[in-house]
């Protein structure tokens, strides 16, 4: 069939309209994701964390986190001897660029990666005056940036220092557990970029998730258990000095 000028002009108009979709990549398939089938958390293996900061960098790139603020960060603890109540802690720029090696003075050093604990009884969602921060049925605490007032009550209420006010949007922000990724079957940016597998996204409702076996055979802890927030980030090898 020969192309007439009329057909050509018609096709050009259609192609122009479709261009946005073409450059955005293949359209997504209809989602079969069912939120109630999942219950997410994370497992941190302190013994595997080397403090390289890959997770922090990956998170900042993936989620466009502004400089000086952190959805995840890494702390380095140094404990001299039995003085566990007086650890020396640092986290230069959230551990984003790793850590300068300490002079050998004895004692022990270890790294503690941190992020929002996606607590099941989260004080931050409790205090939000408009419900802009909320629980998803799959166990993730999210912030609706289009609804947040920027009152910062949630930042005050978080016992773990996980939230901040994004200076660009003037709304509260925190780790979303890469919700845009995990609902597509991917893992979080931090877990994907951890070179030692110290961080693992876990789905407690998935019977095949290795977390079930791990929990049966290892001692784990959450941060500040006395806060009774039902935190869902579990730490293996967590020292008692960690706050």
């Amino acid at each position: 069939m020969s192309m007439t000028r009329r057909h050509f002009l018609l096709l050009t108009a259609v192609a122009a309209a479709a261009w946005d979709s073409i450059i955005a990549g293949t359209p997504e398939a209809a989602s079969t994701y069912n939120m109630t089938d999942h219950w997410y958390g994370m497992l941190m293996n302190i013994e595997k964390c080397i403090g390289c900061g890959s997770c922090v960098r990956a998170c900042q790139l993936e989620n466009k986190v502004p400089d000086g603020y952190f959805r995840t960060w890494v702390e380095r603890y140094h404990i001299e001897d039995w003085t566990v109540e007086n650890p020396t802690v640092d986290s230069p720029d959230g551990g984003k660029n790793g850590f300068v090696e300490l002079k050998e003075t004895g004692g022990k050093n270890f790294f503690v990666p941190k992020l929002c604990n996606h607590c099941a009884d989260s004080p931050c969602t409790q205090v939000c005056p408009v419900g802009a921060t909320f629980h998803t049925p799959d166990g993730v605490v999210l912030v609706d940036g289009k609804y947040c007032l920027g009152c910062r009550y949630c930042i005050q209420a978080c016992p773990y220092g996980c939230r901040f006010l994004n200076p660009a949007t003037n709304t509260a922000e925190k780790c979303s557990l890469c919700y845009h990724r995990i609902t597509k079957g991917l893992t979080t940016a931090c877990c994907e970029n951890c070179p030692t597998g110290a961080r693992q996204l876990v789905d407690f409702k998935n019977p095949n998730d290795p977390i079930h076996e791990f929990l049966k055979t290892h001692s784990v802890q959450v941060l500040k258990p006395y806060m009774a927030t039902k935190a869902k980030v579990y730490y293996y090898g967590l020292d008692g000095s960690v706050r």
């Binding site: 005056p129 408009v130 920027g150 009550y153 209420a157 006010l165 806060m227």
Partner: protein, 394 residues
């Protein structure tokens, strides 16, 4: 902006979230609640001695109440969304109740009580003034010109009922502010069930002080003698309320020292360093002990009138400074230490910034400007006016 940090703070904690404007908010609502409670002394508890300050106390409460939400509005990251608190309040949030408590107190209690109290004057002024003033007062009558004895009796009865409802409402307004802080379990400096009670009593102390000072000031400006039995009675109430407030704060302090939980070392360090001036010197020393001693002397020793006036003025001003320092120490102090209890940050206050010192100064002056306008429109000196009327044989 570089913020000096000592020790270790979680990286997101270095910047303070609640500024001097949030210090101003509980200070202002405290003045509202306190002024109203002083007014209710005359109305409900029939303390006739404080009658000369009744109307002034109501207008003071209204002037400060109008300003109360302004620091909050300025503080919000997205102020254009603040109305969402009314449309979609989150039921589990104490803060979500702010709008409703505020509106109830403003429209359900204070404005109604002031209107009922002034209705007779408004009708008289609507009939006696001319020009735009006449229209203003005619609008304020809301179409009711009935000032018969029976109508005034009903006004009085309804006013009494509203004051009775108003007292728990005033408690709610300020107790709620204390609850906002006291219910944050993440912050040991704030988290105590005593917080709403301490806030309430400190509110009464500051409200009584501000009305006492304003009464003495307005008498001086109007070149009228100060009604000393009235000021003496107010000072007595100030002394006893302050004593309860101070006792509660000391109970809290002693409890913290004795219990010495994991946060204590951190908080203790803070009180001895970053908060030494504002807490030990301003709040406890100059802002509480000195005015308490001054007020105690006036209660115990029969001092001449001029000295009493001077002592009340100094005690009143120092009390207000002390209560402001208390609000500062709660709000700012509660953010200076890390929730890891391993470090401390610094509060850097801007000047001409959205949440800086200049807007705080403007918001502190604004209630007095509003009060000046209110006093012009609704003169509170009714006792004198009625006496003058009686002298003219009306």
């Amino acid at each position: 902006m570089h913020v000096p940090v000592e020790g270790f703070m979680y990286p997101n904690e270095i910047e303070l979230q609640w500024s001097v404007l949030i210090v101003l908010y509980p200070f202002i609502t405290g003045l509202v609640a306190g002024a109203f409670i002083l007014a209710s002394l005359e109305r409900v508890f029939n303390v006739q001695a404080v009658k000369p300050t009744y109307r002034l106390a109501l207008l003071t409460a209204l002037a400060f109440l109008i300003v109360a939400p302004m620091p909050l509005q300025l503080h919000l990251g997205r102020p254009e969304r603040s109305f969402e608190m009314y449309l979609t309040p989150h039921r589990t949030s104490a803060m979500a109740m702010f709008g409703f408590v505020y509106l109830w107190y403003l429209l359900g209690v204070l404005v109604v009580e002031i209107w009922l109290e002034y209705r007779r004057d408004i009708v008289e002024l609507a009939q006696s003034s001319a020009g735009p003033k006449k229209w203003l007062y005619r609008a304020l009558t809301l179409g009711s010109y009935n000032v018969s004895e029976r109508a005034l009796k009903i006004d009085d009865k309804v006013g009494w009922i509203i004051t009775v409802i108003g007292i728990p409402s005033a408690f709610l307004l300020h107790g709620y502010v204390g609850f906002i802080f006291g219910s944050i379990k993440a912050n040991p400096w704030w988290s105590t069930p005593l917080m709403p009670v301490v806030f309430l009593f400190s509110a009464m102390v500051s409200g009584i002080s501000v009305v006492m000072l304003l009464y003495m000031l307005t008498c001086r400006l109007r070149k009228r003698p100060i009604n000393m039995p009235c000021v003496d009675t107010i000072a007595m109430y100030l002394f006893y309320t302050f004593l309860i407030d101070f006792t509660l704060e000391m109970v809290d302090l002693i409890h913290r020292i004795y219990e010495a939980d994991e946060s204590f070392r951190s908080l203790d360090f803070m009180v001895h360093s970053k908060l030494y001036f504002s807490q030990i010197m301003l709040q406890i020393g100059f802002g509480t002990i000195v005015p308490l001693v001054l007020l105690a002397i006036t209660q115990l020793v029969n001092l001449p009138e001029a000295i009493r006036k001077f002592a009340y003025s100094i005690a009143g001003v120092l009390t207000l400074i002390g209560i402001f320092a208390m609000r500062w120490n709660v709000v700012i102090g509660g953010q200076l230490f890390s929730k890891s209890f391993l470090g401390y940050t610094t509060y850097k206050m801007g000047f001409v910034t959205k949440e800086g010192l200049l807007p705080a100064i403007v918001l502190s002056i604004l209630p007095f400007v509003i009060l000046w306008v209110l006093v012009k429109v609704l003169p509170p000196w009714y006792e004198e006016a009625r006496l003058a009327q009686a002298a003219h044989g009306d």
